[in-house]
Symmetry: C2
Subunit: 340 residues, 2 copies
Amino acid sequence: VAATLADVAARAGVSSATVSRVLNGNYPVAENTRARVLTAVAELHYVVNAHARALAASTSDVIGVVVNDISDPFFGSMAAGVQAEAAQEDLLAVICSTAGSPQEELRYVRLLLRQRVRCIVLTGGHQEDPGYLRELAELLRHAADAGTAVVLCGRPTVPETDAVALDFDDHWGAREATRHLLGLGHRRIACVQGPAGNSTARARLAGYREAMTAAGLEPQITPGGFDRESGREAALRLLAGESRPTAVLAANDLAAFGVLAAARDHGLRVPDDLSVIGYDDIAFAADAFPALTTVRLPLVEAGSRAGRVAAGLVPTAGGTVHTLRPEVILRDSAAPPPEL
Amino acid sequence: VAATLADVAARAGVSSATVSRVLNGNYPVAENTRARVLTAVAELHYVVNAHARALAASTSDVIGVVVNDISDPFFGSMAAGVQAEAAQEDLLAVICSTAGSPQEELRYVRLLLRQRVRCIVLTGGHQEDPGYLRELAELLRHAADAGTAVVLCGRPTVPETDAVALDFDDHWGAREATRHLLGLGHRRIACVQGPAGNSTARARLAGYREAMTAAGLEPQITPGGFDRESGREAALRLLAGESRPTAVLAANDLAAFGVLAAARDHGLRVPDDLSVIGYDDIAFAADAFPALTTVRLPLVEAGSRAGRVAAGLVPTAGGTVHTLRPEVILRDSAAPPPEL
DNA sequence: TTGTACGCGTTATCAG
DNA sequence: CTGATAACGCGTACAA
């Protein structure tokens, strides 16, 4: 039911090759035949078949973006950055949500590979499982062989691979955030960890650890996650336990929201009784109560840069790693500890 | 550099047809030849070419989703719903952000049409511009002719079109929210409008109007938008003006966050001095200060349903309209007006 | 159960 | 400047 090049050609009284030429404008065509072709195109409501084009030209107009959860602003912001940049080049972005499952991620990479996408952007920290990483590395090498570039956005490089990485310096960010609390006079600073085995969570934890150790303090770490509920549960444990902390560094902003909620449930005022620092600076951090002190990550910018690489706008040596600096944003959720 | 069916066939010592058959499993194949084929596939790292497959079988494995802004949780949630459902069927979702521009929307629909996507999901309210709607309707008819279904998610039906619509009853929701304020004793209730010409904004405004008129009250409407900043500016105007309202119904939660911020800047306590109600109930509404009273929309569910239709899992008569009921969520930002 | 051969809609090469 | 025509990689009747 859809018109083809041949249909248009027949109607315009030319060969299909000519139609192709006026459509792509890459070869000279006489002005009047060009006009005839264009009317035929309009009359038949002709629409190029991207599959046929991709097959013949062996190029695709789509890039793939893999995220944990597209409704999470952390990923949403990066995806938006990628998408915006892709749009500049008339590229389409297929977005895949893995729910944090490495297996799903591998599955999606395979799916994207058979779509012959121009490039695959993997966002967010990876799971530090040797088996998974080996499989991923192998997949990425096959991708490279097949001409599909891979960009890592907000995630460290994958060993034995020439994927370009745009990583956040989370070690630095968490260390600075912890130092800020230290500077305010806190000594009992707890850290709500991110998901076990997540590279981002590990980097943040390491930064926290470094700052604490350097200050001669004992790290106080409790398991958590990157979602609000994990943060709440972790905080509940922390606040109920012995030696309650005077400050909490959360795995990310969502977890920090959970910590804030738990503090409220415990009748603690933030920041008077408890200081809380988040991580990421998603858009809503400023609207939380109190406005969340946090570590800002240039999420959209990272996405844009990844998108530009994906679109082939910037020449990149394989295996390059670019590190993006976070920034501590001072708002109202962190203050000096309560007097004793 | 990528292996083809023929390569695999050669290596396995069979015809390419046989390889195709074992890959698709839709025809009987002898167990040992099947094994030979599979080893060849593995050895050559063969990956199906989705374009070739789509061309030959004239079916595609991708659906298109058009949103205003993927980093906005309103759209992110719907997109997540669609995506999750698509994933069940091994479908990929290409997500396009229009930034609210009707022209961009049309452009993306065209782009998706040439990708021969299975289905296009258009999310969120549309612009009520006759020219745009006419063009859209025409495009959707061509889509139908070409076999591409269209689902409207969170948006009213497009006239002269057989697109399936899943719409929210925003008129009802805004009316109930307003009634809630009325019931609390408010008389001076203002409404921060959404973007001019947006169908969703209009429906919400109409609901507000109806409730006010029924109560014999004068509507107090101020231009706004669906973003935080618009809400803040609108509230600033409202709070600086004569006859300051005791309650504000915001166009959506983001705008409500802006209203809350403006109230803080004015030294007004919410809800003691000013009640605020949002709309959508995005995940962060509960973390705002005070926790936002709002109207919950089943965003993810709407997305899932749209996704199921898109995946062809549910038989749908063309032109059907399903209306989803919102629900007023009582939290802490709305209370009786201050004593005079 | 397996192979042959054609068609899917474009692009690109090569004549003219 | 334009027209044949051969790929592109796969699905699928039709035959064997």
